[in-house]
C-alpha cells in the first residue's frame, strides 16, 4: 500500500524571502508612487532640519542691519527675503524645520505615552475601572484643544519650548486612547491571548508581549497624523502670539512676524507656509498608506 503513514509531512519547499509583519507593511507602503515621493520629500525636509547649522547661510537670530536690510523681498543674497528685523528668512525657515519638527515629534511622543497607557489600561482592565476612565476621558474630550491651549498659554507668564511641548502633548492624547482601548478590547479575546494565558503568562506579560505589539499599526498611523496636527497647531498658536517664544525660529513665528502686512511682506507667509503644507501633506499621505497596508493583511 503506497499510502503508508509517512511521518514527515511539514515544511518542504524552500520558502521565499522572509517577511516580518513590519517589513511586509513597509513594502506595501513603498509600493505606491505617492508614498515614495512623500517619503523622499519628508526625508529632505528632515535632513534640512538636522543639518540646519551646516546649511543655513546666515545666523537665524542675527539682525545685521536693521535699517537697510529690513523687509527686503527675495533676492540673490537672500533667496527668501528678510524680515522686519533684517533676519534672513531662508535661514529661519531652515531652522524652523528643525524646531517645528522637533516640537511635533516630541509633543506626539508625550501624547503617545499617555494615550497608549490610558487606553491600554482601560481596555485591558475592563469593568468598572474602564467605565470610570472613559467617562473622565469624555470630560476631557469635550474641551476643544485649541481653546484649552490658548487658555493655559495666555495665563502662563513665561514658558519655555519644553513647556509648550508638554502642553501640546498633554492635550493631544484623548482620541488616541479611545482608539487604543477599542483595539485592546478586541484583542483581549483573541485566541492567541487565551493561548498565552494557558501557558501561564502573567497579565503584564500579555499586555506587553501580546497586546501592545499588535497595536503598533494604529499607533503609528495616529502618531504620523499627530505630528502633522501639532505642526499646524503650533503655527496657529504662533499666529495668535502664543507660539514658541521669540526669537526662536519656528515656521509659525515667521508667519507671525510678517502678519501685520501680509500682502507687502508676502514672502514671510509664502515660504514657511509652503514648507508647512508640504510637511503636513506628506505626513498625511504616509499615514494613509500605512493604514491601508495594515488593512490588507
Amino acid at each position: 500500500m503506497p499510502w503508508q503513514t509517512q511521518d514527515f509531512a511539514g515544511n518542504t519547499a524552500p520558502m521565499r524571502l522572509r517577511e516580518s509583519p513590519l517589513g511586509l507593511a513597509l513594502r506595501r507602503v513603498l509600493r505606491k508612487r505617492s508614498s515614495r515621493v512623500a517619503f523622499f520629500v519628508l526625508g529632505v525636509i528632515l535632513l534640512m532640519g538636522l543639518l540646519a547649522p551646516l546649511i543655513a547661510p546666515y545666523d537665524p537670530a542675527a539682525q545685521p542691519d536693521i535699517v537697510f536690510l529690513k523687509s527686503l523681498p527675495p533676492s540673490f543674497a537672500h533667496p527668501f527675503g528678510t524680515d522686519p528685523y533684517s533676519r534672513d528668512v531662508l535661514s529661519r525657515v531652515i531652522y524652523g524645520a528643525r524646531l517645528s519638527l522637533m516640537i511635533g515629534v516630541l509633543a506626539t511622543i508625550v501624547s503617545l505615552t499617555f494615550g497608549v497607557a490610558y487606553g491600554a489600561i482601560a481596555g485591558y482592565a475592563g469593568g468598572a475601572l474602564d467605565a470610570v476612565m472613559m467617562r473622565v476621558l469624555d470630560a476631557f474630550l469635550s474641551i476643544p484643544r485649541l481653546l484649552l491651549l490658548i487658555g493655559v498659554l495666555v495665563a502662563w507668564p513665561r514658558y519655555s519650548v519644553g513647556a509648550l511641548v508638554l502642553f501640546l502633548g498633554l492635550t493631544g492624547w484623548f482620541g488616541l486612547s479611545r482608539i487604543v482601548r477599542g483595539q485592546v478590547l478586541a484583542l483581549k479575546h483573541a485566541e492567541f491571548v487565551t493561548a498565552a494565558q494557558a501557558l501561564g503568562a502573567s497579565r503584564r506579560r500579555i499586555l506587553w508581549r501580546h497586546l501592545l505589539p499588535n497595536l503598533v499599526s494604529p499607533i503609528v498611523v495616529a502618531a504620523t497624523l499627530g505630528v502633522a496636527h501639532v505642526i499646524v497647531l503650533e503655527a496657529g498658536l504662533a499666529y495668535l502670539g502664543i507660539g514658541v517664544p521669540s526669537p526662536s525660529a519656528s515656521w509659525g513665528n515667521i508667519i507671525y512676524d510678517g502678519a501685520d502686512q501680509p500682502a507687502t511682506l508676502w514672502w514671510m507667509s509664502l515660504f514657511p507656509g509652503l514648507f508647512m503644507v508640504l510637511t503636513v501633506m506628506t505626513l498625511n499621505i504616509l499615514a494613509e498608506a500605512l493604514s491601508e497596508a495594515h488593512e490588507r493583511r
Binding site: M15, T194, A195, A198, G200
Partner: protein, 355 residues
C-alpha cells in the same frame, strides 16, 4: 491505562453565562453552557468528547484548565483540587495541563516569530534560556515535522496544517501530562487532518500524554479515542468505549448523530434517522430529559419530559442518560407517576450502527 487513580477528575461541573438586559444590565436568565458534567480521564488514555454546536464541549475543556472559571463543581488533577489553587500554584499547573486550539489563524500571535511563540512557555516557567532555549525550540520544531531553520519566520508564512503543528509544539514546550485538544483538525483540509492526527498519536506515545479530544467529526473521534463522551445541551448523555459506542449506541441522540454522518460509499445508501427541528437554546433547555422533544425512541412519553435521566451504567463501562433504555434505576412505578405510558424497551435501530 496505567495506575488506578485517574489523572483528571471532574465532578458536577457547571458553567453558566448570565444573560443581561436593560440599561443597568440586570441578570434575567442564564445560559447553562455546562450543566452538571462528571467524568474521569485515566492516565495515558484519549477521551473523546463529541457533540454539536452549543453542547458545551469547548466550554468544558476550557473550564478544566480554568481558562474559563467554572460556576461550580470540582476539578482535580492528580488528586489535587484545581479550583482552589491560587495564582502561582495555578501557573505551575499550567505546565502540566495544556491546550491546542481549533483555529490555526487566530491562535498564533501574528507579530511573533514562530520560534518566539514556542519559546514563550520556556521563558515563563524558566525552563531554558538563550542557546539552550533555542536548541529546545529546534528540537520541538523537528518533532512536529517542521524545519528548524524557519524558526524566525512569522505565522502568516505557513499553511493551516503547519500552523497547527506550531500550536502543538507550543503546547509541548512545557512538557505537559495532559492536553485538551479543542477541535484541533476541524479547520483543516481532509488530507492535512490525517497528518496532524498521526502526529498527535505519535506524540502521545512518545511523551506518555493524556488527551481530551474535543471534536464534532465522529469518524475522527472514533479513530483516535479510547473512550467517548457524547454531550448535548451541556450534559453528558452517553459515555462508553469507542468500540461500544459505535457498535451499540444506546442514547437516541447518539443514534441520530451516527446515522447522520455521510458515508463515503455510494453503495451504502442507508436509512437515516432525521431529527426534527433545531437544537434548542441553552438558555432555555427543555424540562426533564433535554433531548426529549426531538427523540425518536418508541417508548418516549410524558415521563421523559418530567424526569431528568441520570447517567447510569447500562452495560459494564457504558453509561447512558435515558430512562427508556433498560436497565434503569428509575423504576417503572416512578415513571408512571410522572405520566409515563410506555415501559422501557431496548431500541437500537440499524440505521445508527456502522458495521
Amino acid at each position: 491505562m496505567n495506575g488506578t487513580e485517574p489523572l483528571v477528575s471532574v465532578r458536577n461541573l457547571k458553567k453558566e453565562f448570565p444573560i443581561r438586559k436593560g440599561v443597568l444590565s440586570r441578570q434575567v436568565g442564564a445560559v447553562k453552557a455546562v450543566n452538571d458534567v462528571s467524568f474521569d480521564v485515566a492516565r495515558g488514555e484519549t477521551l473523546g468528547v463529541v457533540g454539536e454546536s452549543g453542547c458545551g464541549k469547548t466550554t468544558t475543556g476550557r473550564a478544566i484548565l480554568r481558562l474559563i472559571e467554572p460556576t461550580s463543581g470540582e476539578i482535580s488533577f492528580e488528586g489535587r483540587d484545581v479550583r482552589s489553587m491560587g495564582t502561582s500554584e495555578l501557573r505551575a499547573l499550567r505546565r502540566e495541563m495544556q491546550i491546542i486550539f481549533q483555529d490555526p489563524v487566530s491562535s498564533l500571535n501574528p507579530r511573533m516569530s514562530i520560534g518566539a511563540i514556542i519559546r514563550e512557555g520556556l521563558t515563563i516557567h524558566k525552563l531554558a534560556e538563550g542557546a539552550a532555549a533555542d536548541a529546545r525550540v529546534s528540537q520541538l520544531l523537528q518533532e512536529v515535522g517542521l524545519r528548524p531553520e524557519y524558526s524566525n519566520r512569522y505565522p502568516h508564512e505557513f499553511s493551516g496544517g503547519q500552523r497547527q503543528r506550531i500550536g502543538i509544539a507550543r503546547a509541548l514546550s512545557v512538557e505537559p501530562k495532559f492536553i485538551v485538544c479543542d477541535e484541533p483538525v476541524s479547520a483543516l483540509d481532509v488530507s492535512v487532518q490525517a497528518q496532524v492526527i498521526n502526529l498527535l498519536e505519535d506524540l502521545q506515545r512518545d511523551h506518555d500524554l493524556t488527551y481530551m479530544f474535543i471534536a464534532h467529526d465522529l469518524s475522527v473521534v472514533e479513530h483516535i479515542a479510547d473512550r467517548v463522551a457524547v454531550m448535548y445541551l451541556g450534559k453528558i448523555v452517553e459515555l462508553a468505549t469507542a468500540d461500544d459506542l459505535y457498535r451499540e449506541p444506546l442514547m437516541p441522540y447518539t443514534q441520530a448523530l451516527l446515522s447522520a454522518v455521510p458515508v463515503a460509499d455510494p453503495k451504502a445508501r442507508k436509512e437515516r434517522i432525521l431529527l426534527q427541528g433545531d437544537v434548542p437554546s441553552p438558555a432555555n433547555p427543555p424540562s426533564g430529559c433535554v433531548f426529549h422533544p426531538r427523540c425518536h425512541h418508541p417508548a418516549k412519553d410524558a415521563a421523559c419530559a418530567a424526569i431528568v435521566p441520570p447517567l447510569e451504567e447500562k452495560t459494564p463501562g457504558h453509561f447512558v442518560a435515558c430512562i427508556k433504555q433498560p436497565p434503569t434505576t428509575v423504576s417503572w412505578e416512578q415513571q408512571k407517576e410522572a405520566g409515563g405510558v410506555h415501559p422501557p424497551e431496548r431500541y437500537l435501530p440499524l440505521a445508527a450502527v456502522h458495521a
